[in-house]
């Protein structure tokens, strides 16, 4: 079967546009159908994917803007296969969740949902640096409107802060990317931003240093990591639940994905140069996120800070510049997305049962009357804290093994984060589900449609815990290729010699 990535890419946007012309009540179902179709397509792609081949599959490669050397180049390999799947999986329950609830201005809301999915898929599938940035920045537009238009509290301030933070990073990345493209062009050569071309060309090491730094700035803001997370508290408090699940579960992965897709293979010298700094930032994020997650009162913020810690683990795994670490990071990118989406949806359900209260003080004692909800919550909690038997456990262990190899001290400090995760997640679960019944809590079990939204996700978490090899065997080949050049440098070798030519495959 032939798979056209462009169809997957633009299907959600098309559904959103169709929804915009349909009658008011129909828009939601159009977009939901679009996301389901994308999921079906993604599953077909996984089934069809040739895990033995290392290079890009289902490639689309056309001229887009010749003058600027920008190509419309899409492709899927082991690295982004599961990111595409994660996007496809995450959008279905979130759209369903929103569809079964009454939305103000539904046409616009679901149009933005569709646009957002297209943008995220585009960022994951782009194989051209400029195209990646186009989608990376485009993601902000729907999220800006979704948070500002349908959020709660001081939503305008929150969404403005979110956009300015993120765009500061990504516009600097834009300048850096253009500089990379222009400076890498040999005399008389054609300007190109295609990643496979950029990997063959090289820019001087000194230039790589600041370019990598600007890229890292954009990705760290997006992730978010420790010193650049200033937008997190306000944004997480104001964002509507289904949007927040996507923001935290999927969008945060685009940043760290960028490291593996662009920074490490294109600028190995620069990446290796900052390795120590980035690891320190990652370890700081793990500790800072864990400690703050423990001390938060707002349920959303507990998960928000736990995400900072989790993303710290992922960055640690990437910049350990070690095969196991990178594999762990890739696995963890998928895992974290899969647990955070149901976690936020469950938080939404919980808040609905306490009259909108999201403070731990107002919650409590829900499990008794809501056994199914409690069970779902328990499973995701255990997965988040990386209980042995969950895929998160495998992911974190791989990350830690990877860092023990070379960066033992950092690895040991980071493993404290694993312990802290257990502390704050179990605290969260207890305070919400057990303890004294909160003053405004009217507990009831999960409804049929909400169950349909969350239960499949939890089932995927369980399945992945049983058989993580399913992901590992499809991703490891490309993952190793992506870090090969930087890894060789870290081990004291030559970058260009070590990088296997991707064209050859």
């Amino acid at each position: 079967m032939t798979i056209h990535l462009s169809i997957v890419l633009f299907l959600p946007l098309a559904a959103g546009l169709v929804g915009a012309v349909l009658p008011r009540g129909m828009a939601r179902w159009a977009v939901l159908a679009g996301t389901v179709a994308v999921l079906a397509y993604a599953i077909a792609m996984i089934a069809d994917f040739d895990s033995a081949a290392g290079g890009l599959q289902y490639e689309t490669n056309d001229q887009w803007i010749e003058e600027l050397g920008i190509r419309y180049q899409l492709g899927v390999d082991g690295l982004n296969l599961f990111m595409v799947l994660l996007t496809a999986i995450a959008w279905v329950p979130c759209t369903l969740w929103a569809a079964v609830r009454e939305q103000d201005r539904p046409k616009l809301f679901f149009f933005y949902m569709g646009l957002a999915e297209t943008a995220v898929l585009g960022a994951f599938m782009a194989q051209d640096l400029a195209l990646f940035i186009v989608f990376f920045d485009l993601m902000l537009v729907p999220f800006y409107f979704l948070i500002g238009g349908w959020g709660t509290g001081d939503r305008v301030r929150a969404t403005t802060k979110f956009v300015i933070y993120t765009l500061s990073g990504s516009l600097l990345m834009l300048a850096a990317a253009i500089a990379l493209g222009v400076l890498a062009t040999p005399d008389g050569g054609q300007l190109s931003f295609s990643l496979e071309v950029l990997e063959q060309r090289s820019v001087p090491e000194g230039t790589q240093h600041w370019i990598v730094l600007l890229f890292a700035l954009a990705f760290f803001v997006k992730a978010p990591l420790f010193p650049l997370h200033g937008w997190v508290p306000e944004t997480y408090r104001s964002t509507p639940i289904p949007v927040l699940a996507l923001l935290s579960g999927v969008l945060s992965k685009v940043g760290v994905y960028g490291f593996l897709r662009i920074v490490l293979p294109v600028m190995p010298e620069g990446s290796q140069h900052w390795q120590e700094l980035f690891i320190v930032i990652a370890v700081f994020s793990i500790l800072y996120g864990s400690v703050l997650a423990f001390s938060q009162d707002n349920v959303r913020l507990v998960v928000a800070y736990s995400s900072i810690a989790q993303l710290g683990f992922i960055v640690l795994g990437i910049f350990a510049l070690d095969d196991e670490g990178a594999q762990g990071a890739v696995l963890q990118m998928l895992n974290h997305g899969l647990v955070v989406v149901p976690l936020f949806l469950i938080i939404g359900l919980v808040a609905a049962r306490s009259g909108g209260g999201e403070s731990l003080k107002e919650l409590g004692g829900m499990a008794f009357r809501a056994p199914v909800l409690a069970a779902l919550f328990l499973i995701t909690t255990f997965a988040t804290l990386a209980m042995p038997g969950s895929a998160n456990f495998i992911g974190e262990v791989l990350v830690l093994f990877g860092s023990f190899e070379d960066k033992l001290v950092y690895g040991i400090v980071a493993s404290v984060g694993v312990v802290l995760a257990a502390v704050y997640m179990i605290r969260l679960f207890q305070r919400v589900m057990h303890n004294r019944v909160g003053p405004a809590v009217r507990s009831r079990d999960i409804g049929g449609l909400d169950l349909a939204a969350t239960a499949p996700l939890v089932a995927v978490i369980v399945a992945l815990g049983l058989y993580p090899q399913f992901v590992v065997e499809r991703t490891e080949k490309t993952t190793f290729q992506q870090i090969a050049a930087a890894k060789a440098l870290a081990d004291g070798g030559e970058a260009r010699a070590a990088a296997p030519a991707r064209q050859g495959e």
């Binding site: 803007i65 989608f135 403005t160 500061s168 516009l171």
Partner: protein, 517 residues
């Protein structure tokens, strides 16, 4: 070394005139006379409909003739030694014509033409456009200056055409005073350049700088360049010569503001490209660092100034200052790529700003709060056909992808980096980050509820209301303004996704400065 013989010769011999190449300019001049005469007739129909129609007709004919004589490549002399035509002149002049057409449409229901007389108003507009065309086609310093004056003097009058509004008169006077200072400075600078190089012709200046007799660091030449740059900076509202911009933009009738924002800026940058790229290109190492500093100051001041504004016209004026700073980047690198990027951005700038100003025109005529941010509250629900174009314009000005503004900025940064001005590229993006603060505020006010900051006093409406008693009436009141907004917003998106036609245009324009790197 002064070419006395050459001047003497041109006095006795009548210059050769190529009427085919001159035809767009003739169409404008003819239109100007006809419009002025027809405007004298009394019937209401003539004044309200026929005069604008004739003016628009003149512009359409000029566009048609431009397409007819379009030919990329070398310069064709029109009037020997005075005017000549190339793709740069033609391409940029299409922007003037389009801006003129937009202004005519936006003026249909405006107060200003009835106050000042329809014939005069439209004739002045055509005259100003003719000045811009002369400017873009100028071949020597004298025609350049004539062009500048021909473009400016009608604008001084047009700014003051709301005769009964104090702010409009103030705007006209302010523009007159500041504009005259700018013109004088420019003239002084041009005289010095002539003194240093001994030639009025751009080509002669270029070869004098390239020759052995004159060093590029000659003090007289550098002083001349500095003064000329200052004079042009006044016209292009480049900091620190931009202080007039917000006041003049705010006071002038909004259709005229639109015209000034897009067409005057395009004209000023056409001269920047011509004078600095072509005539002074070889001295680039001397003037580029100074202009780069100027660009940086402009970007910073424009963006910071815009943040504090609640009048949309003032905000767009400040944003125009910042955008002038971005545009300068394309001039500074003095490369063909830079010229292309500048031309491209000018076209994009026209699309975005016309969209934004059209929405402002539509709102200020129906809202009691005039062009204050408060009159855009909740526009997303009440009038989405205005809110969407405004949103697109704001996102494009801020440089979001899938809009033409993104590609334009990409191109400019590309040119800056390729011309060894990477830091200027970074300044551009930092400026864009700051600009989010005010562009997104407009979007938030339209889509996300009320504007929180209370007004010190009620904003006054300065224009005659076209509607304003109900949203339905507002919607029907001025369809042509909404149509302009929607059309240009759609173009902003289309060129953001498929920019090739604009690139072709920009490439032709750039090719006429082929003497550059």
């Amino acid at each position: 070394m002064i070419d006395v013989a050459g001047i003497a010769a041109s006095e006795v011999k009548a210059p050769v005139i190529d009427y085919k190449e001159l035809s767009p300019l003739l169409a404008l001049a003819g239109g100007m006379v006809v419009v002025l005469m027809v405007g004298l007739l009394r019937p209401r129909f003539v004044r309200r409909a026929l005069v604008p129609a004739l003016s628009a007709g003149a512009l359409l004919i000029a566009i048609g003739l431009t397409i007819w004589i379009w030919e990329p490549g070398d310069r064709q002399p029109i009037i020997e030694g005075a005017l000549s035509v190339d793709a740069l002149a033609l391409g940029i002049s299409v922007l003037f014509y389009v801006a003129g057409l937009v202004t005519i449409v936006l003026s249909l229901r405006a107060n200003a033409p009835s106050e000042a007389g329809h014939g005069e108003y439209h004739a002045l507009l055509l005259g100003s456009i003719a000045g811009m065309v002369v400017l873009a086609q100028a071949e020597n310093l004298v025609t350049l200056f004539i062009g500048i004056e021909l473009l400016s003097i009608p604008l001084y009058v047009l700014c003051a055409t709301e005769l009964r509004q104090r702010v409009s008169l103030e705007s006209g006077l302010k523009y007159l005073v500041v504009g005259s200072v700018g013109s004088a400075t420019l003239l002084y600078g041009l005289a010095m350049i002539y003194g240093a190089t001994g030639s009025m012709q751009f080509g002669g200046i270029g070869s004098a700088i390239g020759g052995d007799e004159l060093s590029a660091t000659d003090p007289l030449l550098l002083t001349g360049i500095a003064l000329a740059a200052t004079g042009l900076a006044f016209k292009a509202s480049v900091a620190p010569f931009h202080q007039w911009t917000p006041d003049v933009y705010q006071g002038a009738p909004t259709p005229i503001t639109t015209f000034m924002a897009v067409a005057t800026k395009a004209a000023a940058f056409a001269v920047f490209l011509r004078l600095f790229g072509q005539a002074l290109g070889l001295a680039q190492l001397e003037w580029a660092p100074a202009l780069a500093v100027l660009a940086t100051v402009t970007i910073v001041m424009g963006n910071v100034g815009a943040i504090a504004q609640r009048s949309l016209k003032r905000m767009l004026a400040w944003s125009g200052v910042a955008q002038a700073g971005y545009l300068l980047a394309g001039v500074i690198v003095a490369s063909e790529l830079g010229a292309r990027a500048t031309a491209f951005y000018l076209a994009v700038y026209l699309l975005m700003n016309v969209t934004a100003f059209a929405v402002v025109v539509a709102r200020e005529r129906v809202s009691e709060r005039g062009d204050d941010l408060a009159s855009f509250e909740g526009l997303g629900t009440s009038q989405p056909w205005l809110a969407w174009p405004m949103t697109i314009a704001m996102l494009s000005l801020a440089g979001f992808p899938a809009t033409a503004g993104f590609i334009g900025k990409f191109y400019l940064i590309d040119a800056a980096v390729a011309g060894d001005y990477t830091w200027l590229g970074i300044v551009i993006v930092i400026g864009s980050v700051v600009s989010l603060g005010y562009y997104l505020r407009v979007v938030a006010v339209m889509w996300m509820g009320r504007f929180e900051i209370e007004m010190p006093g009620p904003a006054r409406r300065l224009v005659k209301p076209a509607a304003g008693w109900s949203p339905e009436a507002d919607a029907l009141a001025q369809p042509e303004v909404a149509a302009i907004a929607i059309l240009f917003a759609a173009a902003t998106i289309v060129f953001g996704i498929y920019p090739d036609p604009l690139f072709d245009l920009a490439r032709d324009v750039g090719s006429s400065l082929s003497s550059l790197r």
